[in-house]
């Protein structure tokens, strides 16, 4: 039963998330708000129940598989991708490189400075 209990908690949080998202017209997808709901619950509870960990970590272990059906949807957009092929390719590579470099450098500097400041 633990797997079913854990799955119920995850789906319950997603359900609350969807309710919040639709009900209050918040521009954030329901599952993301569900994640916030679960995090708040865990912080109040102070620990992760075994059943929830079983279901949650099982899903996260196969996270990459879950992307496949949506990814196959690329085949519907062959025309659009062919038309913008170089634009897409160059933009993806360049802007991913810029994002990695800027984020890494900023966090590296801040983490070092912050660690020093706290140490004083």
């Amino acid at each position: 039963m633990p797997l079913i209990m854990g799955m119920s908690v995850l789906l319950g949080c997603q359900f609350l998330g969807e309710l919040l998202s639709r009900g209050l017209a918040i521009p954030v997808p329901g599952p993301v708000l569900g994640m916030v709901v679960l995090l708040v619950v865990l912080l109040i509870l102070g620990r992760v129940p075994d059943s929830l960990r079983l279901a949650g970590e099982g899903l996260l272990r196969y996270l990459t598989l879950l992307f496949v059906p949506a990814g196959v949807g690329l085949m519907v957009h062959f025309e659009l991708i062919k038309a913008d092929f170089w634009v897409l390719g160059i933009t993806l590579v360049l802007s991913t490189a810029v994002t990695l470099a800027v984020t890494g450098k900023v966090l590296d500097r801040l983490a070092k400075r912050y660690a020093k400041g706290v140490g004083k």
């Binding site: 990459t64 598989l65 990695l100």
Partner: protein
């Protein structure tokens, strides 16, 4: 058995959710094997290989995407609870997150603004179409969130999902090399950066090659980036006048 019966059988099977579910799982298993043969090269990422195999399979058998998705939606559906489950690694590492809260939040905001505005700027300069541009904007966010955002700002959700996957494998290929060039050595910084720029792919790679701490930071970055981007992105897009 005569040919007519086989025909009827195929018509039945190809329209049945069972076939697409089975094909998806088999393709993913094969793709994982191929990735192992390619020594874990990010260019042969299991997800990319599985998608290529499945598109090939659908084109050869003449099954269209909507028929395929009727079966595959059972797998797709699990993205929702999986997104919710990201709260678990976040909770596990709450102490370290609390200690590094200020640098993390600042780096997260800088990273998101860089990701979105560099994508839009480069795309605009190169003359991307309107809907392509809007589908590209949320590309560094994990795909369930990216699809939601794309839908909201007028992009194409399934194109956005595909671009998210490509971004993930590009990030995994570039990341380790860039970190060496920039002399970024702290595994938690590397992990966070990979999670921010390359979402689930970066998280999986960080867990595998940099260890559990880097993986947890990557997961944190992925969740945080997803949430914050959902709030910030519509604003940045309107700043660009799109």
């Amino acid at each position: 058995m005569n040919l007519a019966a086989l025909d009827a059988l195929w018509v039945y099977l190809s329209g049945n959710p069972l076939l697409s579910l089975l094909a998806t799982l088999v393709a993913f298993t094969l793709a994982t094997r191929i990735n192992r043969l390619a020594k874990g090269s990010p260019f042969a990422h299991p997800v990319i290989v599985a998608i290529v195999l499945l598109i090939g399979f659908l084109l050869v058998t003449g099954i269209d995407y909507s028929t395929y998705f009727e079966g595959a939606q059972f797998i797709h559906f699990l993205l929702g609870p999986a997104t919710v489950a990201l709260a678990i690694p976040l909770f596990d590492h709450r102490e370290r997150v609390r200690r590094m809260l200020v640098p993390i939040v600042l780096a997260c905001l800088t990273g998101i603004v860089t990701a979105v505005s560099s994508t839009l700027a480069i795309g605009l300069v190169l003359g991307a179409r309107h809907e392509t541009l809007l589908s590209m904007a949320p590309r560094s966010v994990t795909s369930p969130i990216a699809m939601g955002i794309a839908e909201q700002i007028g992009g194409i959700p399934s194109l956005a999902a595909g671009l998210v996957l490509l971004t993930g494998s590009v990030g995994c290929a570039l990341g380790p090399w860039l970190f060496r060039q920039l002399r970024i050595e702290d595994p938690s910084v590397q992990g966070f950066t990979m999670g921010l720029a390359a979402h689930g792919f970066g998280t999986a790679q960080s867990f595998a090659s940099l260890g559990a701490m880097a993986g947890a930071f990557a997961g944190l970055a992925m969740g945080l980036t997803g949430m914050v981007t959902a709030f910030i992105l519509p604003m940045v897009v309107s700043l660009f006048g799109l």
